[in-house]
Each structure stands twice: as C-alpha cells, then as structure tokens.
C-alpha cells in the first residue's frame, strides 16, 4: 500500500517545529530506511502514518485514506507500528495473548487469527515462549514479542522505529530475516535506523532527514556514498562504503561481497599495468 505525504509540517504544542515541509511518496511494496541525526524528526514523521500525530499543515495519505479522517484504531488495520522501546507497547500477561490482541481487535475470524499468530510466532522464533509473561523475557526477546504482535496484524504497511537498538549480532540477523520475509510478501516497510550498516544491507531506498526536512532521497547505493551531504545530518556512510572510498574504488560498495569484488578488480587492474 502506498504512502503519500504532501507538504507536511508539524509543530509540537511547545512551539517546536519538528517537520518543515515534507513531500514524499512511498510506493506499495517498497522497503525504505529513514536516517538522520537525533532530533531530525524521524519518529515525528512516522507517527503521522498511523495517526498518532496529525499534520499541522499538509496531509498524509495511507492508500486512499487521509489520516485526518480516520481514527488511530481504524488506521491500525493498514499501518503496524513497532515502537523503539518494546515496553511502551507490551501489556499482556503472556506472549500468546499479546500477539493475539492485534489481529483479534481487527475483527478477523478465529481461523485467520490462529494462522496469523502461529506464523508471526514462528517468524520471530517465539513459538516455545507463548505462555511466558513478556516481562520475564530479556529485553531482546521483548523486542521480538513487539515485532510479532505487529506482524500478526498482517497490515499492508509496517513501521519499525530503531529495530536494532541494543540488539546483538544474532538478533539483528533475526530482525533482518523478518524484514526480508515482509518484502517477499509485498508489504511496504518503513524503518528508522541509526545502524547504517544494517541499513546498507537491508534497504533499497534511503531517505535522510535533517532538521525536519528531506536532505537526500534515493537508491541506497547512491545516497550512502554521499559522505559530505550525509555529514550534515550526522550520518556516516557504512563501514565498507567508507573503506572502499578511502581505497579509491570507483563503485560505492555496500556489502562484503561487493567490497571483495572491487578489491580483487583493483588489484588485478594494478597488476596488469
């Protein structure tokens, strides 16, 4: 499902203008990463997608729905939102109940709910923890419960706010796996992240925000190579991209394989001279 943002401005009641004229279209099935410095407006922007915030000026369309005309409860059938801090969204006595809550609220049939819950639990590797109280789990697993409870709602759009914060390498790989699965299912995924290596390896389109405006927007390969512009919003290019640049590679590299290929090519080229 498509997201359309037209000249969006948002001012907090304190007078702080957090978004200053944002226009963007995110197509159905796109996987987009939003990057930018702390306070750039990333969370403020995505909180408009499910109606938690309403534009001061401009509009946000979720498919054909203007968020001004639909309640947060209604928008929840189209936009799933995984909070940065899982403790802000978990409240049930056990994992199974927590994950069932969303799809049940959306009024799906029992069979459909069972199927969605089973699938979400399997994808997040929680199938053996359904009877555990979420607060008896480590923060890592609580994060997976938060993911599962949103995925189970089967919304066409899924938002992740800093999914890899405080996660170890094993769990970052699990989260990347979940996002890849959503991509194959044709979901629109929007992810806020400071983990630029994670961004490079899992997203095709990158939007960089700075002081409430769009600084850069385009294919990850193009955007992540623009070291000087990214520096304006305190984003460093991925480690291997930086290394490739320092070594004088012509191409912008994003992954280990790309890096090693470029390295091999540059060595071959220098030997044939």
């Amino acid at each position: 499902m498509k997201i359309e943002i037209n000249n969006l401005r948002f001012t907090y009641p304190t007078g702080l203008e957090a978004l200053r004229g944002i226009s963007l279209t995110i197509e159905a099935g796109e996987q987009v990463a939003i990057v930018g410095q702390n306070g750039a407006g990333k969370t403020t922007l995505v909180r408009h997608f499910n109606g938690l915030l309403q534009p001061t000026v401009g509009s946000v369309l979720i498919g054909d729905w203007d968020t001004k005309k639909y309640s947060v409860a209604k928008l929840a059938s189209r936009v799933g939102y995984v909070f940065q801090n899982p403790d802000e969204q978990l409240f049930s006595k056990d994992v199974g109940t927590e994950v069932r809550f969303g799809p049940r609220n959306l009024g799906y049939s029992k069979e459909k709910i069972d199927e969605l819950v089973t699938r979400a639990l399997a994808l997040t590797e929680l199938s053996n923890k359904t009877e555990t109280n979420p607060y008896d789990l480590s923060p890592t697993w609580r994060k997976m419960v938060a993911l599962a409870s949103v995925i189970a709602m089967d919304t066409p759009i899924v938002i992740f706010d800093e999914p890899t914060t405080g996660q170890d390498a094993v769990n970052v790989a699990r989260i990347a796996h979940v996002i890849a699965k959503l991509r194959r299912e044709g979901k629109t995924v929007v992810t806020i992240t400071h983990d630029i290596d994670f961004c490079a390896e899992n997203f095709e389109r990158v939007i960089a925000l700075a002081s409430g405006q769009v600084l850069l927007d385009g294919p990850a390969r193009e955007i992540l190579g623009q070291e000087e512009i990214l520096a304006q919003t305190y984003v460093d290019p991925p480690q291997l991209t930086r290394l490739g640049k320092k070594l004088g590679f012509k191409e912008t590299v994003r992954s280990q394989e790309e890096f090693l290929n470029s390295l091999k090519n540059s060595i071959d080229a220098s030997q044939s001279k």
Binding site: T14, T140, Q256, L260
Partner: protein, 280 residues
C-alpha cells in the same frame, strides 16, 4: 591495589534458576577505561548493577564472592553510601529520568540537590556538565519531549555532574547518531584521563578500539576473553560465539582466506583497514 576488585562473584536474581554472573574475577585500575562486550543475555547489565551496588542491595537475590570499589566492600556498605562514589547510566534513559522535573536543567541538578550541594555551586556544575555533552541548548526543554538520543545525553550528563569516582555506562550510545557517539566516547576518554574509572557496555567495536584501554568479553555470565582492544576484537572466538564484529574485521578475515589480506593482525578500525588493504 586495583580500584575495582571483583573476586569470584557469582550472582542469581531472586527468580532465575541459573546464575547470571558466574565466578567473575576482574581488576580495574584507577583511571582505566574498560569496555564490556557480549551477546544479549551475557550478563553485561547485571555486571553494571553489581558495580553500581544495585546488585545485591536493590535486586536482592543470592550473591557470593566480593565486590570492592576504592577499597570498600559492597556488602559492608549501603546503597546510599555507594552511589556517592559510583554513577550508573542505565541502558534505557527512560528508566533513569526522574519524572519529577520539568526541564532538562532541573533534571541534571536533581542529584546535586538531593546530596545537599549548596545552591550557588549547583548552577555552575550543571552548566559545565551540559557543555561537556553539548546539550546546553536543551536546558529549558522537558526531558520527555526529547528524542531517544537526546534523552541518553541527558541521562549521561546527570551522572557526570555528580563527579563519581567510578562511571558505569550501560550502552550509553545505543540510540545516538555518530556525532553523539563520537562525543560520548570523547567525553568518557577525557574523564578517564582525569582519573575517573570507567566501565562501559558497548556494541560499537570500531569506537571501542579507538578509545578504550581494555576489553572484557562476557558470555553466559563468564569472562570469555579479556585484553587489549585489537587482540580481543579480532579474535576468532568472538565470531564463533555470536558477538558483534566490526565489518572491517569480518571482511578482512574473509579477504585473508582468499589471499587478499596479507597482514598478521586483522583490523577493527577504518585506519587499520585502509593500511592493511593498501598493502594488497
């Protein structure tokens, strides 16, 4: 004598079946900056709580062995006395912000007020601490109106302002952009140079390699490895045990297999990687 001295520390929370820390022996010198790394569930936060006195004074549970900081044994002290010397910044800044104060400035002054620091001393100390972490511009904002990374800076500042002898930081940059991260590591390094002892849990290997004196790798409540940053962070053992690894290290390891990395040591930082790959 070591400033921090942990002898055979084993600890179990009241409701857990297996110990979260197992037979930990750790000595840290005054002014040393030690980074603690490990997969989720390794016991990193619990180690922070043990150093900060929350384990066992607040969390109870069963503890054996001894925890000594600055010559005082934790079990013979109270939490009130302990926190005068040791500051802990929690992993989630939300858990730390008092909720009792309307502005960032007041939040940072809160600890000093509680300790009965004279009024005329509070203002300059708060201003100085805010300058160090570059948040002077947030002074009048509500702590709750801030972004995650900004809240982390406030949480860190409210500890720094207390000038503890031991600074314990549990993933202080997890929600920060690279500039924030760089500043925090810079501030912490300066503190260590000024004699403050620092124990910091972190996942950002490149930064650890650039700034820390020593690295402790924890897994399943035990110390798996410890030593100089480059030695520990490039060890094969880490890769095999689910630790996060710098892309420079993992890529050079693969390049080495293909004959594209000639140096003996693997890199952790950009500079080390550039130097090694240039040799081709």
């Amino acid at each position: 004598m070591a400033f921090i001295n942990l002898q055979n520390v084993t600890y179990k929370y009241p409701l857990t079946k297996t110990p979260v820390l197992q037979n930990i022996n750790l000595q840290v010198n005054e002014g040393e900056f030690v980074a603690v790394i490990g997969p989720n569930g390794a016991g990193k936060s619990t180690l922070c709580y043990a150093l900060a006195g929350f384990v066992p004074h607040f969390f109870k549970g069963e503890i054996s062995g001894t925890i000594e900081v600055d010559g005082v044994e934790s079990s013979k002290s109270t939490l009130d006395e302990w926190v005068l010397n040791v500051g802990l910044a929690f992993q989630n800044p939300f858990n730390q912000i008092s909720g009792a104060k309307y502005t960032v400035f007041e939040e940072i002054a809160f600890g000093l007020e509680n300790n009965g620091v004279p009024r005329e001393e509070i203002r300059p100390r708060v201003e100085e601490a805010m300058k160090m972490t570059d948040i002077s511009n947030l002074a009048d904002r509500s702590p709750y109106s801030l972004s995650g990374g900004q809240q982390q800076r406030v949480a860190l500042t409210s500890i720094l302002v207390m000038k503890p002898k031991l600074l314990v930081l549990d993933e202080p940059t997890s929600q920060m952009d690279p500039i924030g991260t760089r500043e925090v590591f810079g501030v912490v390094r300066r503190m260590a140079e000024g004699g403050m002892t620092v124990v910091m849990v972190e996942h950002k290997m490149e930064w650890i390699a650039n700034f820390a004196d020593r690295v402790i790798a924890l897994k399943d409540g035990q110390i798996l490895l410890e030593g100089k940053p480059n030695e520990v962070l490039t060890s094969d053992v880490l890769a095999e045990n689910g630790f996060g690894i710098s892309r420079y290290t993992s890529t050079a390891r693969e390049a080495k297999k293909r004959g594209l990395w000639k140096k003996e040591n693997l890199p952790v930082t950009l500079d080390e990687a550039v130097e090694g790959f240039k040799l081709g």
